[in-house]
Amino acid sequence: MIGIIGYGSYLPRYRIKVEDIAREWGSDPASIKRGLKLFEKTVPGLDEDTITISVAAAKNALKRAQIDPKDIGAVYIGSESHPYAVKPSATILIDALGIGPDVHVASYEFACKAGTEAMFVANSLVKAGEVKYALAIGADTSQGAPGDALEYSASAGGSAFIMGAENVVADILFSNSYTSDTPDFWRREHEFYPRHAGRFTGEPAYFRHVVSAGKLLLEKSKMKPEDFDYAVFHMPNGKFPQVAGKKLGFTEGQMKVGWIAPWMGNTYSGSSPTGLSAILDEAKPGNKIFMVSFGSGAGSDGFIFNVTDKILDVQDKAPKLRDYLDNNKIYIDYGQYAKFREKIILNK
């Protein structure tokens, strides 16, 4: 049995409401809430970035896994907001957490699915017997240009998963990928904000890949939507995952726990992994979880998890996702948001 032996998440305390963003641009908040199903989003503090979020999430994963960090043989961080263009994020993380130096690290990038890429490879390495444990992280301080529709969703947060062969809390039964050259969203070198092709990001990009990957995963596993207790999909907003899930035959009830985008926003590489984290926080032994990510460019990774008895031993060993999502929030206005996201040019 190979799968998740420890998991953890982290979300910043700061929040901005859709109303506060809409006010600045003369938009109608009611139509955004109704159309995109977004209410508020997390905002990283001035001293937070993808690496600090990854460290905080990985610490929680280590608390649950109860392993010696030195035994982790691979660390992969998936993000589209790595603080350095050239320099791996994970080298800072391994030093902070006492991992390595006998460790293989890499920064992954595949728009919003870099986190599940890391999970996919980490799981494969453990399965191949190359490493005892592998740490996979999806985290982002997502960028959205001022005034762009992305500004309502682009948020910050991440989740970490330690893969191993002993004391598995969620066995990875099946995984797959579905990839094509579909340029729906991109950021070129030296550009600060991503660009996107409007409605092209919907049907030909998100829905085609998520639904195709989902269908292939169901075929591969010979399972049906009703065999699952939970389902989670990449959440570019609140609406898309619900539509994709229903197309595949899942119900709102199955998607409810992992559907956190309305209050978290889109944490890009940390989106569906953080939805999975919320599910693991309350899953029971024997529960089956269906997960499909999405990264623009474009591709989807799919996973099927079987929750084991061990889950009950680890759930309370670290803060749960809802602890971060629901408590201790600090609401900021657009001015503070502009400062925190460094949208104001200072005369330094």
């Binding site: 109608d28 139509s31 159309g35 092709a197 409007g198 409605r199 092209f200 030909p204």
Partner: protein, 383 residues
């Protein structure tokens, strides 16, 4: 001038056609039209397209389409008159046949709007760049001014505007080629996002990819190809000031009334003798204003008429936009004028299915560009 008939049609589904290029779309519609008409060649062709250059970066569109349709070396001409490009292409094809210059002519229209272009900016090139667009107004703003003036002058209400959208969606529900086949309510329209007061999102036609084509030939030749043909009994065109501010009134569209007056004279008919009309409902207010300028209702009474159901398929008075109109069927700007002709043709040849208007003999198609600076009207008669 000799009599001319429409002998066949073809069109693509209207919508977001992500997997089809502008060439695919035009060729699909045109091949369907050629097959439907049963002709083995065409003598010339006209391509209505508003702005393939801005939408997909392709100009020289007439030669491109003749090439991809496999029709080179036939003469192929691009006709542009903003959102009236399709209707104008049809009129040029009509004149080509009527004059005796050509026998079998294809009139097509196409637009590929969903390809990453800034659609609002591209469409705004149909307004006055110096006096309108430079000052920040785009088409929703221009038609909102028309709507506000109509509401002020004639007490037209938002509910009456919404009634246009509700009716057209009801019609489009039965049109397999329509972009939005969903029934909506007055409340849905009134609660949709405000785009430009008083126009809500559902008062506006959508952004659409699509193509449409028809085949024309001399009336006395039509029987050779098909028993489903209609006669073109009027084809007119008019223009007006490009900018709204230069007009004496915001509540009338002079190009429409001028083209209508000439058209009725050409076929010696009165507005009351028209059985159905496809009109240019790029915004709900335009259907109301146009229905008045075409003489179907007295000036100022268009809103009340739609609210009272006088323009529905069942009413029998004057069914308007039985296809679903631009609002529900979709508005690929260059293709719209041809798609209107197709709806009238289908109605007059009894092929409109659940949208069929009983005993339809005379149908009118009104297509306009910008905020009514250009307009073409074509009236067809069942044979």
């Amino acid at each position: 001038m000799r009599d001319v008939a429409v002998i066949g049609f073809g069109m693509t589904k209207f919508g977001e056609l992500w997997n089809k290029s502008i060439k695919d779309i035009f060729v699909e519609a045109s091949l369907n039209a050629i097959e439907n008409a049963g002709v083995d060649h065409i003598d010339s062709m006209y391509v209505g397209a508003m702005s393939s250059g801005l939408f997909v970066g392709q100009e020289h569109i007439a030669a491109v389409m003749a090439d991809y349709l496999g029709m080179a070396p036939v003469p192929s001409t691009h006709v542009e008159s903003a959102c009236a490009s399709g209707g104008m292409a049809f009129r040029q094809a009509y004149l080509d046949v009527a004059s005796g210059n050509s026998e079998i002519v294809l009139a097509g229209g196409v637009e590929k709007m969903n390809d990453g272009a800034d659609v609002t900016a591209a469409l705004a090139t149909a307004a006055d760049q110096e006096y309108e667009v430079y000052n920040g107004v785009t088409f929703p703003g221009l038609y909102a001014m028309i709507a506000n003036a109509h509401m002020h002058e004639f007490k037209t209400t938002s509910k009456q505007l919404a009634a246009v959208a509700v009716k057209n969606h009801l019609n489009g529900f039965n049109n397999p080629n329509a972009q939005f086949r969903s029934k909506i309510s007055i409340d849905t329209v009134l609660n949709s996002t405000m785009v430009s007061d008083p126009l809500h999102l559902l008062d506006c036609s959508p952004i659409t990819d699509g193509g449409a084509a028809v085949i024309l030939c001399p009336l006395d030749m039509a029987k050779k190809f098909t028993d489903k043909f209609v006669k073109i009994i009027a084809s007119t065109q008019a223009s007006d000031s490009i900018a709204l501010y230069e007009r004496k009134s915001f509540t009338s569209l002079n190009a429409v009334s001028n083209a209508a007056e000439k058209a009725y004279k050409q076929c010696n008919l009165k507005p009351t003798e028209i059985d159905l009309a496809e009109v240019h409902d790029c915004f709900t207010i335009s259907e109301i204003v146009v229905s008045e300028d075409l003489g179907f209702f007295n000036k100022g009474k268009g809103g009340l008429a739609v609210e009272e159901g006088k323009t529905s398929i069942e009413s029998g008075e004057i069914p308007i936009n039985t296809s679903g109109g631009l609002k529900s069927k979709g508005h690929p700007v260059g293709a719209t004028g041809i798609a209107q002709i197709i709806e009238v043709y289908e109605q007059l040849t009894g092929q409109a299915g659940k949208r069929q208007v009983k005993n339809a003999r005379i149908g009118l198609a009104q297509n306009m560009g910008g905020s009514g600076a250009s307009c073409t009207i074509n009236i067809l008669e069942a044979i």
